[in-house]
Amino acid sequence: MKGLHLDRLRISRGAETLVSLDLLVAPGEVLTVMGPSGSGKSTALAAIIGTLAPPFRLEGRIWLDGVEVTPLPTRARRIGLLFQDDVLFPHLSVGGNLGFALPPGLRGAARRARIAAALEQAGLPGFADRDPATLSGGQRARVALFRTLLAEPCALLLDEPFSRLDADLREQIRSFVLDRARDRGLPVILVTHDAEDARAAGGSVISPMGLPL
């Protein structure tokens, strides 16, 4: 079964249930989980990428393209993640950031060519040697997206990735990210508190407790 399947996923802390989701996100589809801060959105996200802190208890299973990823560590899940801000590695160049994500198979000139091609697609040709700190917000967001895509994920999680951008840029980057994800047929879960983001994503919108909004 292709796609990201949350199979009766339930997360609780003590007696309180924070997240209850039972659904399938098909390839190329976008699911939006919306709610105010503190509503369990980030908890759901941590559970899906595998960084849930000990006080939380997780029940149910997570499947990606027919493989159960619940017992796997983050690095083996093949789920890409875009943060609220870009979290580029400040000590590496733009090319270094992309190279970090590229799987180790490619070497030498082929590797550099792949990075250059990714920068081309991101609309940032020749940026490989640039310091990420000298880029604009929109440029950084695109580098972060392509860094995530170069790791060849099978699903994409977006943690309010547009909330730090200006209104104009925000719309532009949002469609840029979602189009790339659809092109590659990735199942996408978008976590946000912003109704505009949810509407633009186009898919179904639910609360962390699984209720349609």
Binding site: A53, R75, A76, V87, P90, A133, R147, T148, A151
Partner: protein
């Protein structure tokens, strides 16, 4: 950290009770009791230690309470790291040059007093230990200041001070009532370390302290280094006495803490505002801070000038001629001692840094939280006096045949370097943005790759700073080098202290200057290398 301390203590206990000669008996204690200088020596250790700690604490508190926010305070902050990195021996030697009857102070006064020859005054090695106390104070004020500055953010000081001020309290008394109780809880361990150190300091007491009798720690060292092994028992017994004395002093200090707390509570009830105290106290705090910094700075300048001095007669303030003769003549010895000093420091720091990083990384990977008890363990080698457990470690080194080898000395240095490296690195390591690790893992990187490619390079600056702190600690070590090295491992520090009794100021100056320059170079490298490595990375600049 507990291992070497306990093993050392056990190794001290055994000879003290005569277990090496078929005991147990109290022979060694009888021999100790038979030493006529015992009473005076014990009183001296206690007096100088308590006085130095109380003075250093009072001065530091005055600086923090009254000078914060002034330009003098900012200047002091900038001088803090260089001051801290100067080894104890170099500070003591510099101060000795300053205070001695033929030192700069006497030369300054000479025209007024009409002196044509150095006055016959006991300004150094005075029987009451005043010079020693002064030396300890100027060395410990920067340390306590650093500890307080690290603790202040956790005390909510600015808001508390504002509340006190809005109730009409002066700065000084407002600080004492509103901030001090919370602050003191945070700096209690460092204060205990200062007290234990001050009572048992060896090299400072050798250079500045009285001689007949000397402080207990100095006497123990002399017995330990006595070629006749018979004195070892007496030394071990005295080391135990010293340990008991420190324990007693710490207990006494704790009781004083409680008494002071009660007194403060009573004072608070009286509602006295102390607003008029600030006017006289602020300049006093400024003067004391200036005095502490100037004493070290002028002392070090004196060392430097003496090392290049040609003819320099009393009461001239500067030498008539300058020459590099001292340096060129001492060059072979200086080079050899420097190489040994650096080798020991690099080895000890490499081990300490490796252990610290392994500890912190394990803590991060397994989500462990350090407890207060673990912190006590870390402080143990800093609080248990060196003089109490090093004789035992020396005994063990003798038994295993490791005594006198540089490797054994480096291992002993690790015991003292590790706590400082850990305390220096841990805050930055723990404050590292955890999302970087999550981003790395989501890109498919394993924990090792995240550590080596992301965490370590991003923490290059604090890692190198911790290494520089460790280098400074190792370079300054006197007693471990002397005892575990059996006098055969010669470093700049052991040589500078050994020369100090000889009185050749030019040579002493050269050794002390190098002893001070090596840590300074380490700190310069810790600042310069990351700046160079990340010169094209604005996101890695110091903020």
């Amino acid at each position: 950290m507990v291992g070497p301390v306990l093993a050392g203590l056990a190794g001290t206990l055994a000879p003290a009770f005569g277990l090496m000669r078929g005991g147990p008996d109290l022979e060694a204690f009888r021999a100790l009791a038979g030493w006529p200088g015992l009473g005076a020596s014990v009183r001296l250790s206690l007096g100088t230690g308590l006085a130095a700690t109380a003075l250093a604490l009072a001065i530091t508190l005055m600086i923090v309470a009254l000078l914060q926010g002034t330009s003098a305070f900012r200047l002091l902050l900038r001088l803090l790291s260089p001051l801290l990195s100067v080894p104890h021996a170099a500070v003591a030697l510099g101060l000795a040059f300053l205070l001695s009857p033929s030192g700069w102070l006497a030369r300054l006064v000479a025209p007024l007093a009409g002196w044509t020859a150095p006055p016959d005054l006991l300004t150094l090695n005075d029987p009451a230990g005043l010079a020693l106390t002064a030396g300890l104070v100027v060395k410990e004020v920067p340390f306590l200041l650093l500890m307080m500055l690290a603790a202040l953010p956790q005390t909510d000081a600015p808001r508390r001070m504002m509340v006190a001020a809005s109730l009409g309290y002066g700065r000084g008394l407002g600080f004492v009532h509103a901030v001090l109780p919370a602050l003191y809880r945070q700096i209690r361990l460092p204060v205990y370390a200062v007290l234990a150190y001050s009572m048992t300091a060896v090299e400072m007491a050798m250079i500045l302290g009285p001689t007949r009798p000397a402080t207990l720690a100095v006497q123990i060292t002399a017995w330990m280094m006595d070629p006749a092994l018979a004195e070892r028992g007496r030394a071990a017994a005295a080391a135990l006495l010293q340990l008991g004395q420190v324990a007693g002093a710490l207990l006494g200090w704790r009781l004083m803490e409680i008494a002071a707390k009660r007194a403060l509570a009573r004072l608070a009830l009286t509602g006295r505002r102390g607003a008029r105290l600030d006017a006289p106290l602020r300049p006093l705090a400024g003067m004391l801070a200036l005095l502490a910094v100037a004493a070290v700075a002028l002392g070090l300048a004196g060392l430097g000038v003496w090392s290049v001095a040609g003819l320099w007669q009393f009461p001239d303030l500067a030498p008539e001629t300058l020459t590099t003769k001292t340096w060129s003549r001492a060059a072979p010895g200086l080079a050899e001692a420097s190489a040994m000093t650096l080798g020991l420091a690099l080895l000890a720091v490499a081990v300490a840094l490796g252990l610290t990083l392994a500890c912190l990384e394990a803590e991060a990977r397994h989500g462990l939280r350090p407890t207060t008890r673990a912190l006590w363990l870390l402080y143990l080698p800093l609080i248990v006096p060196q003089i109490a457990f090093l004789p035992g470690l020396q005994g063990l080194a003798l038994l295993t045949g490791a005594e006198g080898t540089p490797l054994a000395v480096a291992a002993a240095h690790v015991v003292f370097v590790l706590p400082y490296v850990f305390l220096s690195l841990a805050p930055s390591f723990r404050a590292w943005d955890g999302r970087i690790a999550i981003a790395g893992a989501a890109l498919g990187a394993g924990e090792n790759r995240i550590f080596w490619r992301l965490r370590l390079p991003m923490l290059l600056r604090p890692v190198l700073t911790a290494a520089a702190v460790g280098m400074a600690v190792s370079i300054g070590q006197y007693l471990p080098t002397l005892l575990i090295g059996g006098g055969r491992v010669v470093t700049l520090t052991t040589e500078a202290v050994a020369l100090s009794s000889g009185g050749n100021r030019r040579i002493i100056g050269a050794y002390a200057i190098l002893q001070m320059a090596l840590p300074a170079l380490a700190f310069a490298a810790a600042l310069g290398l990351p700046a160079l490595a990340f010169r094209h990375r604005r996101g890695m600049a110091v903020t």
